[in-house]
Amino acid sequence: MPHAVAVTVNGTSYPREIEPTLLLVEYLRETLGLTGTHVGCDTSQCGACTVLVDGRATKACTMLAVQADGAEVITIEGLAKNGDMHPIQRAFAKEHALQCGFCTPGLMITAVDFLERNPSPSDAEIRHAIKGNLCRCTGYHNIVNAIRSASAEMRQSAGARPKVAAEVKR
């Protein structure tokens, strides 16, 4: 039986009738057409499907879309503001932190959640934070460089730039 849900994605509310079996990632990609969020393993291991749900990095393959009713979701499409790339996006480009790019949206979303809470991380902390995101091009060194580089830029622009999504307690 379909359920009426309204999920706010990148600032826009989308009321839809959906089946309970629909995963959040399927809702984003297939119902809304937001294909920037990738499906890698579909077993909550690879992190390619990571999006922010109420400000927390979440594997969208391991959440039902009905569970996101009323939630605020930010996908990779929502990181740039008015054509301005988010610091994490600029840092990934600058540091060559991607090859094939499949894991990139998930890694950037995880990094945003992490850096909003830990603005000056050590490399060890960065590596611990991205344990749930697999890169099969073996580009972790440059990914860590990019997250460190983004953290510096985010600290400098902290006052000027609004948080992507504040953590909401529900």
């Binding site: 089946e19 579909d42 909550s44 991205i130």
Partner: protein
């Protein structure tokens, strides 16, 4: 993708949730879904109905009661537990265990109640839960009951929880002064599950000797267990390196250790003794601080 159809409801009170669970057809409770949804994708669980607890706000709270009991709601996520100041100060081993669960995303959704209800033998939080002598509070059609953590874990994916009961709260009794705790874990390199995880809770006397010791071990056997031989060996000693080593050496005594591709039973028992030593060392350090 989930191919097996099911109905879904998200009641706003625990009473409604219990009623829904006891209705017709096979129903399952869902919280963070990080154990249940993967099983449903594999077809290993095919519930006809999911009862989602997410709208029951009181289940997410962590509160300290008048007698010092710390009551953690079943919906508290590993992330919230890791960062909670009270838990970090008073139940350090639990904060450390929660911070070692899975990865950042899993900790953001996965809950302590879900972990304890699912009772994976390699889950982290059962170890501190039994080491701190916590009580599991469950609500069913006949009302509420409390189950001692030691009596709660029955085996692999098996607990004392009845099919029509919902785990609502985990209650940690106040710890005496001069108590320190720590969680030491050998993680599976890919899954991050505990090949071995040991929670140590140690209380020392004013002269520095060990008054009381509790060790909860996960990952090594079919269910989390208390290493009572090791606890007895440590109690009354000076808590020095020699006493710690002698006690830790007994932490796998009498168990039937799991054996799989990652670790043979012999190797697992060895790991238990090594990680028991590390957990006890850090717990005693903290008790003395």
């Amino acid at each position: 993708m989930i191919t097996h159809p099911f109905t879904y409801q998200a009641p706003t009170t625990i009473e409604e949730a219990v009623r829904a669970l006891g209705g017709a057809g096979e129903a399952k409770v869902i919280a963070g879904g990080h154990s249940l949804l993967p099983l449903m994708k594999l077809g290993l669980a095919q519930p006809e109905m999911l009862v989602d607890l997410r709208r029951i706000a009181s289940l997410g709270e962590i509160r300290t009661e008048a007698d010092g009991t710390i009551a953690i709601g079943a919906l508290a996520t590993h992330r919230v537990i890791t960062h909670d100041q009270t838990v970090r100060a008073k139940l350090t081993a639990l904060a450390e265990a929660a911070g070692e669960v899975g990865d950042l995303q899993v900790r953001a959704r996965g809950t302590i109640g879900g972990s304890l209800a699912h009772a994976d033998p390699a889950a982290d939080e059962p170890a501190p839960t039994i080491a701190f002598d916590a009580t599991i509070r469950a609500v069913g059609p006949k009302g509420q009951r409390d189950i001692r953590a030691r009596d709660y874990f029955k085996g692999t994916f098996e607990t004392a929880l009845a099919a029509n009961e919902i785990l609502v709260e985990i209650r940690f009794p106040a710890q005496p002064a001069r108590t320190g705790s720590a969680y030491a874990k050998f993680a599976h390199p890919a899954s991050r599950f505990a090949v071995t995880g040991v929670a140590a809770v140690v209380t020392i006397k004013s002269d520095g000797s060990v008054e009381r010791a509790a060790l909860g071990v996960t990952g090594a056997a079919a269910a989390a267990y208390r290493a009572t031989e090791a606890e007895r060996a440590l109690t009354g000693t000076k808590g020095d390196a020699k006493a710690i080593a002698a006690a830790a050496a007994k932490a796998a005594d009498g168990i039937t250790a799991l054996s799989d591709l990652v670790a043979s039973s012999e190797y697992r028992k060895h790991l238990v003794t090594v990680y028991a030593r590390r957990a006890i060392e850090r717990a005693i350090e903290r008790a003395r601080a």
